[in-house]
Symmetry: C2
Subunit: 207 residues, 2 copies
C-alpha cells in the first residue's frame, strides 16, 4: 500500500525510522507521531544522542570494544587478569559475559565472524591484532566464545591454527544443557557434548 | 538487571531509544549497534529527519492536520467538498481515511479525545475551532469518525450538543467498524463502507 503522508517532514522521518531493523512503516509512523507529541528538547536530546554515538564513539586500541577513550575500562583495569583473553564476535557478547560477573579476564572483539556467504573473510576481522597480542607474550590462555554455528566453528578453527605457534592454551566455553532446562528436551548434540565434556562434581558447584 | 555499558555514549543512546513506546532496552541496544555499523551520513540523516520533523512541522490553520505550510493539502484543494467535514481524533485517522479513497470532504483534527481519566477535557481539544468553522456557515454536514470507545462516544455527544444550534447534519461513520476496534487498524473496505453509509447522529444513539 502506498501510504500518502500529509507532510514531507513526516514522510522523511517515517522513512528513516523504518530503515531500522525490525521497524515497519506502521511502527515508524507511531514512533514519529510520538516524537511529535514530545517537546523540542526531547527531540534534540534524542537526535544528538544518536549522532554523538555514531560520531564520537571510539574503539579500544587493545580489544576493539567500543569505549569513550583510547582504551576501554576493562583493558585499563589493573584488577583484571590480562593473561586471560576471551574472544567474542561483538560488543553484545562482551556485555552479556560481563553481566554474569564470572569472568575476570579481558576481551578481544573480532567485529564479526568468518562468513563466506556474507563475504566476510579473516582479513575483515580483528584476528591479526589478536595474534599480535598473543605474540607480545603476556597472554597465557585464549577462551573462544563464539556462536556454535558453522561460521563460529570455522572462525574458532582459523584462530586456533593462527595461535598454534605460540605456547598458550586455547579453550572454548563449555557447551551443555542450560541451567534450569529439562534434560529430556535438550537437543541430542548439546546433550552429547555435555556428557563427553562432563566436569568434576566438585568443580560444578563452585559457582 | 542493571546492565553495564562499555561506553557512556552508547548508554545515552540506548536510554533515548528505549524511551520510545514499545522499545525495550534490549531492542534499543540492537538499534544503537545498528546505527553504529552504518556510516556517519546515515546517522546525520536519521537525526536531522527526526529533529526537523519536531521543529519544522506546522499545523493546518483550518483543520489542524500536520503539514509543511500554513494550510494542508486537503484544505487547500478546491476539488474537495468543503461543506463536508470529517471530525477525527488524530493525524493517523486522516491518513487511514485518505487511504480508503472514499471521502472527498475535508477534515477537522481534534488532537485527542475527551478522557477524564487522562485529564483531557473539551478545552484541550480543537472543538471551539470546529464550532467556529460551522458558525462561519459553509459547512453542511459534520461526520464524526472517532473510535467506538466510551471516550469516543462522549466526545461525539459533546460535539453534537455544541453543534445543535446550527442548521447542519451531524452524522457518524457507520458502525461497520467493530465496537472496541481502533479506526487506525480497520481494513480499508470496512472503513470506506462505513464512511459511505454514515448515519444521522440521532439514529445512531437509538441503539
Amino acid at each position: 500500500m502506498n501510504q500518502k503522508y500529509p507532510s514531507a517532514l513526516l514522510e522523511n522521518a517515517v522513512n528513516e525510522l523504518s530503515s531500522l531493523p525490525g521497524v515497519g512503516r506502521k511502527t515508524a509512523l507511531r514512533l514519529a507521531l510520538y516524537i511529535l507529541r514530545r517537546d523540542v528538547a526531547y527531540a534534540e536530546g534524542f537526535a544528538s544522542a544518536l549522532l554523538n554515538l555514531r560520531k564520537e564513539v571510539k574503539y579500544c586500541k587493545v580489544c576493539h570494544n567500543i569505549c569513550d577513550d583510547e582504551m576501554c575500562g576493562i583493558c585499563a583495569d589493573p584488577q583484571r587478569d590480562h593473561s586471560l583473553v576471551c574472544v567474542v564476535e561483538n560488543i553484545k557478547e562482551v556485555m552479556a559475559i560481563e553481566n554474569t560477573g564470572q569472568f575476570r579476564g579481558v576481551y578481544h572483539v573480532l567485529g564479526g565472524i568468518i562468513s563466506p556467504i556474507e563475504g566476510i573473510g579473516p582479513g575483515d576481522l580483528q584476528i591479526a591484532s589478536l595474534v599480535d597480542r598473543v605474540a607480545a607474550g603476556d597472554v597465557k590462555e585464549v577462551v573462544m566464545a563464539l556462536s556454535t554455528t558453522m561460521e563460529g566453528d570455522t572462525t574458532n578453527f582459523f584462530i586456533y591454527r593462527k595461535l598454534s605457534p605460540y605456547q598458550i592454551n586455547v579453550s572454548v566455553i563449555a557447551r551443555g544443557v542450560s541451567i534450569g532446562d529439562e534434560i529430556e528436551y535438550a537437543d541430542e548434540i548439546t546433550l552429547g557434548r555435555s556428557i563427553v565434556n562432563r566436569t568434576s562434581f566438585n568443580d560444578s558447584i563452585k559457582i
